[in-house]
C-alpha cells in the first residue's frame, strides 16, 4: 500500500505576540522590537497515511489538530519537517471559502474549484454534477449574495466533493444544510471511501471518528499520542482528557457519591474496611482497559478486623454520565459469605463486559446478615472499556441478522 500523505517530522512554531505591531509606524515607534513568546503547536509529528484509508485526527480544542490539518493542506508551512502529498488534494476547512458574493454561482464554482487546484477541463466536465448535487439548478446564474446560507454551504460542499480529489481533508464541516443534505454528504463520503480515496477528518467527537475512520491520530499539546484503530485511539484520547483534568474526569468526580449515597448509611462499628479495588483483565495482560465483551475480574482488598459470617455484597456500575448502570442483587449470589479476620481479597467475576467504550465506575458495599452496611467504597474505582467495533452507544447489544422468505419466517401469521 502506498502512502497518500507522509508526515515527516512536522513541527510548527507559532509566535504569540503580547502586542502585535502591524504597521511600520508602530514598529518605528517601538524601536523595531516586538516581544513575543514561542509556542510549539506541533512537535515532531511523524505519520504515514496510507492511500485509501479514512483517517481521523482527534484532539481537544487547542491541541494542534487543526494546525496539523492546515499543514497537510499546505495552508500553513511547517517550521521544520515536511509533508509529502501524493495526489490531488481538496481541503474543506470552510465551505465556500473564497466565494465572491458579487459573482454568480457558476463563476464561483469555477473560481472555487480552481482555488482547490482543479483545471478548467475538470470543472467543465463536472459542472453539471456539482450543480445537481447542490440542488441549485435554478439559481446557478444568480449572484451568490442572494443565496441563503444553506445554499451557500451546499454549493461549497458540492464543489469540494465533486471535483474528484484523490485526498479529501475535512474539518468538522460535514454538518451542513438540512438533515437530508447531511445524509447526502455522508453518502458521498462513504462513496469516497468505497472508491478507495483517502480522507482525513478532524474532529473532537469520538463517536464520529468511530463511525467513519479506519485509523485515528490523537493529538495532544502538539504531540502525536497514538495513531491506531479508533477503539484504542479513543481510549488514549480519553486517558489524556483525564490526565489533564478535562471534562469526563470531573464529570465522574461529581458523580462518585451518586452511586452509593453514603449519607444513607451509618456505620456503627467498623469491623471491615475496603482498602482497595483493582481490576484484572483477561489473561492478566498488562493493560488498563477491557475490550468490549471480554471478561473482567474486580478484586477488592478487605481488612477484616472481626470475623464476619453471612456477609453480602453489592457491586454498582456507574456510567460516565453518572447514572447507575447496574447494581447487583445482594440477596442472592453475593451473599452468605464468611470472612475471617485479616487481609482478604474478594474477587467479582464478570463473564463479559457488554459495554461500549467509556470509563465506568465501580462501587462496593458490604452488609451483614441484617442488611446493615458494614463498609462501602468511599471512592469509585474506574475501569475503561475499549470498543474495537464501530457500534456507538453504551451497551453492546448482541445482534445478528438473517434473510428468509415470508413463508419461512411465517410472516403472514405474524402479521395477523
Amino acid at each position: 500500500m502506498t502512502s497518500a500523505i507522509e508526515i515527516r517530522g512536522v513541527s510548527k512554531r507559532f509566535r504569540l505576540y503580547h502586542e502585535k505591531y502591524t504597521s511600520l509606524k508602530e514598529r518605528v515607534i517601538h524601536g523595531g522590537h516586538v516581544p513575543y513568546e514561542e509556542f510549539w503547536a506541533l512537535k515532531d509529528i511523524v505519520a504515514d497515511i496510507s492511500s485509501g484509508k479514512t483517517i481521523g485526527i482527534l484532539g481537544r480544542n487547542g491541541s494542534g489538530k487543526s494546525t496539523l490539518l492546515k499543514c497537510l493542506a499546505g495552508i500553513l508551512q511547517p517550521t521544520s519537517g515536511d509533508v509529502v502529498v501524493r495526489g490531488q488534494l481538496a481541503a474543506m476547512l470552510e465551505l465556500g471559502a473564497g466565494f465572491q458574493p458579487e459573482l454568480s454561482g457558476r463563476d464561483n464554482v469555477y473560481l472555487n474549484a480552481s482555488l482547490l487546484g482543479f483545471t478548467k477541463k475538470d470543472i467543465d466536465r463536472r459542472f453539471d454534477d456539482i450543480v445537481a448535487f447542490a440542488e441549485l439548478e435554478k439559481f446557478i446564474d444568480n449572484q451568490v449574495k442572494y443565496y441563503s446560507s444553506g445554499m451557500y454551504v451546499r454549493l461549497g460542499f458540492a464543489v469540494a466533493v465533486n471535483v474528484d480529489p484523490d485526498i479529501l481533508l475535512v474539518d468538522e464541516v460535514l454538518a451542513v444544510g438540512d438533515e437530508r443534505f447531511q445524509r447526502k454528504c455522508m453518502d458521498r463520503v462513504q462513496q469516497f471511501q468505497r472508491d478507495g480515496r483517502t480522507i482525513v477528518v478532524v474532529s473532537h467527537s469520538p463517536d464520529m471518528m468511530r463511525q467513519t475512520c479506519d485509523e485515528v491520530m490523537v493529538i495532544d499539546r502538539g504531540e502525536l499520542i497514538t495513531f491506531s484503530p479508533p477503539g484504542e485511539a479513543i481510549r488514549a484520547f480519553r486517558d489524556r482528557l483525564v490526565d489533564s483534568g478535562f471534562a469526563p474526569d470531573s464529570e465522574v468526580g461529581e458523580t462518585v457519591k451518586d452511586g452509593v449515597s453514603s449519607a444513607v448509611f451509618t456505620i456503627k462499628k467498623r469491623v471491615v474496611k475496603i482498602e482497595d479495588i483493582s481490576f484484572v483483565y483477561r489473561d492478566m495482560e498488562d493493560r488498563n482497559y477491557v475490550i468490549t465483551d471480554e471478561p473482567l475480574e474486580v478484586r477488592v482488598l478487605l481488612d477484616v478486623s472481626e470475623t464476619i459470617t453471612g456477609a453480602s455484597f453489592n457491586l454498582t456500575l456507574i456510567a460516565e454520565t453518572g447514572g447507575i448502570l447496574f447494581t447487583s442483587d445482594a440477596g442472592t449470589s453475593l451473599s452468605g459469605i464468611n470472612l475471617e479476620s485479616g487481609k482478604r481479597v474478594l474477587s467479582f467475576f464478570f463473564d463479559k463486559i457488554p459495554l461500549l467504550d467509556g470509563r465506568f465506575g465501580v462501587n462496593i458495599d458490604i452488609r451483614d446478615t441484617g442488611g446493615v452496611v458494614l463498609d462501602l467504597s468511599e471512592q469509585s474505582a474506574y475501569f475503561e472499556v475499549m470498543n474495537p467495533s464501530r457500534a456507538t452507544g453504551v451497551v453492546a447489544m448482541p445482534l445478528s441478522i438473517k434473510v428468509s422468505t415470508p413463508e419461512e419466517s411465517q410472516w403472514l401469521k405474524l402479521a395477523q
Binding site: T2, F14, T22, S23, L24, K25, R27, K70, C71, L72, A73, G74, I75, L76, Q77, P78, T79, S80, G81, D82, V83, V84, V85, R86, G87, Q88, L89, A91, L93, E94, A97, G98, Q100, E102, L103, D107, Y110, L111, S114, L115, L116, G117, T119, K120, D166
Partner: protein, 326 residues
C-alpha cells in the same frame, strides 16, 4: 535532493506529488505559479467582473479615472504652466499609459494578500497568484487605454515612429515583470506591515514626478548635467527603471524628438530695442539612438528579473506565516 526523491516517487505512483515544507526551492515555487495560471485567469476575471460587473458601460466607467487625470494635467500644464511641448496631449498620454499601469498594479498588489485573508487562511494555492492577478487586471486596463491611445493617434492623424514600435513591446515586457516583482514584494510586506499599502500611495506620487511623463526628460537631465555637483543625479535619474520604459513609449508613440520654436531675441537695432525671432531647436525627448534605448531596456529587463526572483524568494520565506498573521 528532496525534489529528486519526490520525482522518483511520483514516477512510481503516477500521481502528482507535492511537498509542504518551509524550504521550497525557487524553481518549485515558479513551477507552482506556472501551474496555477488557470487560477490566475479566473482571479483576473473575478477582479474585472466584481469591479465592473462585466458590462461595457462598466469598462467605459473604468476609463473615467485615467481620462480625468489626463484632462487635468493637460489643462494645467498646457495652459496654466504653458508647456511648450507640441502635441502635448499625446506626449502626456504616451507616458501616462505606462504609469497608470505601473501605479495601479502596485497599489492593487500591496493589499492583495491582506484583502484575500479569507481564502489565504482556508485554501492552499500559490499565494503569488494574488498579486499577479492584480498585475493582470492592470494589464487589462492598460490594453483598454492603449486602444483609446490608438484612436487618439488616428483621430489626430498622428503617425507613431514605426521603426521604434518594437520598443513598446519590449518596454511592456520589462514593465510587467518589474511590476510583478515589486508587487509580489509589497503584497508580502504588507502582511506584516499593514500601512505599506497607504505608504505606497504616497511613494508612488513622488515616484510619478520623478519620471519624465509631464515634463521633458531633457529638461531635467540637462539641469543635472549643468551643475557639476549634482552630475551623479543624472545617472541616478536614468537608473530609475521606469524612465527608460517611458522614454521608449514616448519615442515610439509620440516621436517628436525635437521641435523648432521661434525664440524672440532682444537686439539693439538703430538705438532701439527690438526682438528678432530666431529659430531654435528644442529637445523634447532624449536623443538616444535606437540601440541605446534597447540597451537601456535590456538593463531594465535584467534588473526586473532580479527583482522578481528576489521578491518570489522573499515571498516564499514569509508565506508560511501568512495564514497566522492575517
Amino acid at each position: 535532493m528532496l525534489t529528486n526523491d519526490l520525482m522518483s516517487n511520483s514516477k512510481v505512483n503516477e500521481l502528482p506529488s507535492r511537498v509542504v515544507s518551509a524550504k521550497t526551492t525557487l524553481p518549485s515555487r515558479l513551477m507552482n505559479i506556472w501551474q496555477a495560471r488557470e487560477l490566475l485567469l479566473f482571479l483576473i476575471r473575478k477582479e474585472l467582473k466584481v469591479k465592473y460587473k462585466g458590462s461595457v458601460l462598466g469598462f467605459l466607467w473604468s476609463m473615467l479615472n485615467p481620462a480625468i487625470v489626463l484632462g487635468v494635467y493637460y489643462v494645467v500644464f498646457k495652459y496654466f504652466l504653458k508647456s511648450s511641448i507640441p502635441d502635448f496631449a499625446l506626449f502626456l498620454f504616451s507616458g501616462l499609459i505606462v504609469w497608470n499601469f505601473f501605479g495601479s498594479a502596485l497599489q492593487g498588489c500591496a493589499s492583495s494578500v491582506v484583502g484575500a485573508a479569507g481564502i489565504v487562511k482556508k485554501v492552499s494555492f500559490p499565494r503569488e497568484v494574488l498579486p499577479l492577478a492584480q498585475v493582470g487586471t492592470a494589464l487589462f486596463f492598460f490594453f483598454l487605454q492603449s486602444l483609446v491611445l490608438v484612436l487618439f493617434l488616428a483621430g489626430f492623424q498622428f503617425a507613431p515612429a514605426w521603426s521604434y514600435l518594437p520598443l513598446v513591446l519590449f518596454g511592456l515586457i520589462d514593465l510587467v515583470i518589474l511590476a510583478a516583482g515589486v508587487g509580489i514584494f509589497l503584497s508580502a510586506l504588507n502582511v506584516s506591515l499593514r500601512d505599506i499599502e497607504h505608504l505606497i500611495q504616497v511613494l508612488l506620487q513622488a515616484w510619478f514626478w520623478g519620471v519624465p511623463i509631464i515634463y521633458s526628460y531633457n529638461t531635467v537631465y540637462d539641469l543635472f548635467l549643468r551643475h557639476p555637483s549634482v552630475k551623479w543625479m543624472a545617472t541616478l535619474y536614468l537608473a530609475d527603471p521606469v524612465t527608460p520604459i517611458v522614454l521608449s513609449f514616448q519615442r515610439a508613440l509620440y516621436g517628436h524628438v525635437t521641435y523648432v520654436s521661434a525664440n524672440p531675441v532682444p537686439k539693439i537695432v538703430a538705438g532701439h530695442l527690438e526682438y528678432i525671432n530666431h529659430n531654435v531647436t528644442n529637445i523634447v525627448l532624449a536623443t538616444y539612438p535606437y540601440h541605446f534605448l534597447v540597451e537601456l531596456l535590456v538593463i531594465v529587463l535584467v534588473a526586473a528579473i532580479a527583482i522578481f526572483i528576489g521578491a518570489v524568494k522573499y515571498f516564499g520565506n514569509v508565506e508560511g506565516n501568512f495564514a497566522e498573521e492575517l
